[in-house]
Symmetry: C2
Subunit: 483 residues, 2 copies
């Protein structure tokens, strides 16, 4: 522990009190190791400010002392953005003590919250006021709103309600120099000047720390219909989606592609699950319709099934006749993610292409993967309505562990090349952080790189916040700031 | 005409051909006078490039020669942003020849278009493919998509579909130095790095020229229900809105407040209109439900009426029983704007507050206006669902014309002060341009001003594009660049 570290910790302790600082290495464990088990280095300290003003004071101190900082939410990101660095010790600024629901206005359909609020708590508070906050993620029990905003989170309801970007009306942000910037107004429309708010959303903690937000709510759905439909092919799933969009008006809230292998993976992870259909089919679609008003959703669903059968894009299906049965169907969606983890290390991707190109993209990706690694298992599942698939690869059991990193790199490169062919994205919802940086930069035009770097310089000329995430460190920074 | 002008015109003519340049003052009329009749100065030239590459070449030339430019769409803006300057002659870059629909993909629900496409043409092309582009504005017969994006246009369907910002998936922009920046991908989700796209949307032609865009479509509604409901008060209209959001699920596509005086104004402008209800009421709501699928919208509307009567927020109403009758009701909404123009010069505002504060805001604004100008007529109408009202003032007939500018300034200031009291916005959808600049800057924090100015510098360090719009000219620019 260097002198600088001691001085900083003493300052933070005086400012925030004992509960506001985690100084000892053994207590820092949960701040240095993310959801996916990744870890890099140890922090200089972990601070846990309780108010926006405290966050600002911490940041001002770090800014003056040229100490690097990394904001941390629920630590459920998948691109290593919130992990403390392994070269230069950073101060982890955790928002976990800032969990206040500031104001909920059901007539305005808005809710002002602290950045550290857990997503599930936000959803619950909305529901208690007969409203609904639509962001819906596997990690919602631990991810925080500030992190959701910093990473522009997605999830299963995007096709109806949009990404996090579209659910934020106001923001409060502590900038890298400790100034507080705020647009905390509960306005559904505000068209004044350049949207700093939109620039900050999705900046992954590199331009500022989200300490508060005004969220957009909708009426709470009073009813929903969930169905698991068997479809003959990925292409049929895409055609079924177009039908579902039309028949479902704007009431379609989820439309997930689930290949057969994913069902099997879910059964492995959750043995209490059983096959919802009598026969085995190559692909399934899990869909949901929801409404807050008097609509007969079952008529809508029957209409869709009928049209789907007629167009031969639906082979079979089960409609949940109760909430319990619907939950059971959604357990498949969750279980298949767990099932992949149980199979051990695997390649995860998060790509998007135009919806109309999904089937061909999956086909080409499967061919590329088979060529490189004939015995591995490719699974392609996800959000058809967003053109967003997770094309993952589970390596053959016989592949030696030490060969995996190189194999994954090769496979990822091959999948990304396929995605490039459709003008797709190598990161549809997970962001860039560290793990997608190389692939991201390789696809960036020099014009865009210049603009992005200049914007980072406007907000954080000394590269003190989230340094090295999204954009690489500027050359000069690699030479200085070592302690 | 200076030598520099001749040289520039010669260059443009060689580059674009005769049809690409409007050099003579008499032909420039429609480029120097906007929709609302505003005019400032004459341009150095008007150029009409036909392709993105031509736009880029024009801009590169202007950038090299340090000639100021102003992009121009359909010229229907309300804040004088596209008017050529009166101090320094600018080159008007009109997109009107770039009207190509590049690609429409109904399976992906996307459409790629040139920046100069007229909004109505875009809507028509979408409909021909059984899709729908939801942006809906009074000016849609002449406004252009590029301008809609540059100004982040709003309109009557925002409560359901969002502002223009939420309808754009990809952009193609010529930057102030002539470089082309593009995110022209037809992706519903793409979460890579800072969103330059969102920063450019709403930048009002000061950071670049929108030459192309990928737009998000929805299924084409197959049915709609329109109703004009009489409500006892503005507060009742707000409560009715909350009901309508719930009962209407997400199928409510418009909800407009229309005070009685606006009905009268509509009758003045369109004498063929007649009062749709037998009695006279103080306020009305014009609402629309629309769906692409099998939903019984009339049941929904009956449900809403019943609940509204029970809660005493609906007094009376007429449901359009045919498309012709619905169009007739919408004519009232359009006619009342024309009716205001017929009454002569008047104050227009475009404010927003939280929906729950609308009634009190209107009350306070009316009181403030009455105090200052007892005989003038205040009308407050607009988009309840967005908290966005146009609080306009028609001066008393006896007010002398030369007294109007000072009166309007005073009244506007008083209304804005009321809006400030509710943490509202002085520009909900019209943008800043020139006419809102003073009010905008007066409310800008020094932090925000510094960030915005720095961002402008990143894109346009010499202040050559849209100079003086949104942000004031930097001091140094006021002293140089005169020719």
């Amino acid at each position: 522990m260097t002198i600088r570290n001691d001085t900083a910790v003493a300052f933070f302790t005086q400012l925030l009190g004992a509960k506001g600082v985690v100084a000892e290495a053994e207590d820092q464990e949960r701040y240095v190791c993310d959801w996916a088990g990744g870890r890099l280095g140890m922090p200089l300290a972990v601070v846990r400010p309780g108010t926006t003003e405290e966050v600002a004071e911490v940041v001002r101190y770090c800014h003056e002392q040229r100490i690097r900082m990394v904001p941390q939410g629920g630590h459920t990101g998948l691109v290593q953005g919130a992990l403390p660095d392994d070269h230069i010790a950073e101060v982890v600024i955790s928002l976990e003590r800032m969990t206040r629901i500031r104001r909920l206005d059901p007539l305005n359909f808005t809710m002002a919250v602290d950045g550290g609020c857990i997503l599930e708590e936000v959803k619950r508070a909305a529901e208690e006021n007969d409203c609904f906050f639509p962001l819906s993620l596997g990690a919602q029990g631990s991810c925080q709103i500030g992190g959701n905003i910093a990473t522009n989170a997605g999830g299963v309801n995007v096709l109806r309600y949009g990404m996090m970007r579209e659910l934020v009306l106001g923001l409060e942000v502590v900038l890298p120099n400790g100034e507080i910037w705020s647009s905390m107004r509960a306005l559904h429309k505000d068209n004044r000047g350049y949207s700093l708010q939109q620039l900050l959303i999705g900046s992954e903690g590199t331009l500022g720390i989200v300490t508060g937000a005004v969220l957009k709510l909708t009426p709470r759905p009073q009813q929903s219909q969930t169905a698991l439909l068997a479809v003959p092919s990925v292409e049929a799933a895409v055609r079924l989606y177009a039908l579902a969009r039309r028949v479902g008006s704007d009431l379609l809230s989820a439309f997930e592609l689930i290949p057969r292998q994913c069902l099997e993976l879910a059964f492995e992870a959750a043995p209490q699950l059983s096959d919802p259909l009598d026969e085995v089919y190559p692909n399934y679609v899990l869909l949901e319709l929801a409404a807050s008003g008097p609509v007969d959703l079952s008529v809508m669903l029957e209409c869709l099934l009928e049209a789907g059968m007629e167009e031969e894009v639906v082979l079979d299906g089960v409609l949940a006749s109760s909430i319990a049965q619907a939950d059971q169907l959604w357990l498949i969606r969750e279980g298949m993610v767990e099932g992949q983890l149980l199979r051990g290390e695997h390649l995860r991707t998060d790509i998007s292409v135009p919806i109309s190109a999904i089937a061909e993209c999956v086909e080409q990706a499967a061919a590329a993967v088979t060529t490189l690694s004939p015995n591995s298992l490719l699974i392609a599942y996800g959000h058809i309505g967003d053109g967003n698939l997770h094309i993952n690869v589970l390596p053959a059991a016989e592949t030696p562990g030490e060969a995996l990193p190189a194999l994954f790199e090769q496979l990822e490169g091959a999948i990304f090349t396929v995605v490039d062919g459709f003008d797709g994205s190598i990161s549809a919802e997970h962001g860039i952080g560290r793990s997608k940086q190389a692939a991201y930069l390789a696809r960036l035009s020099s014009t865009e790189q210049r603009l992005l770097t200049s914007i980072k310089e406007v907000f954080d000329p000394d590269e003190l916040m989230g340094a090295g995430r999204i954009l690489p460190l500027a050359e000069r920074q690699l030479l200085s700031n070592i302690h």
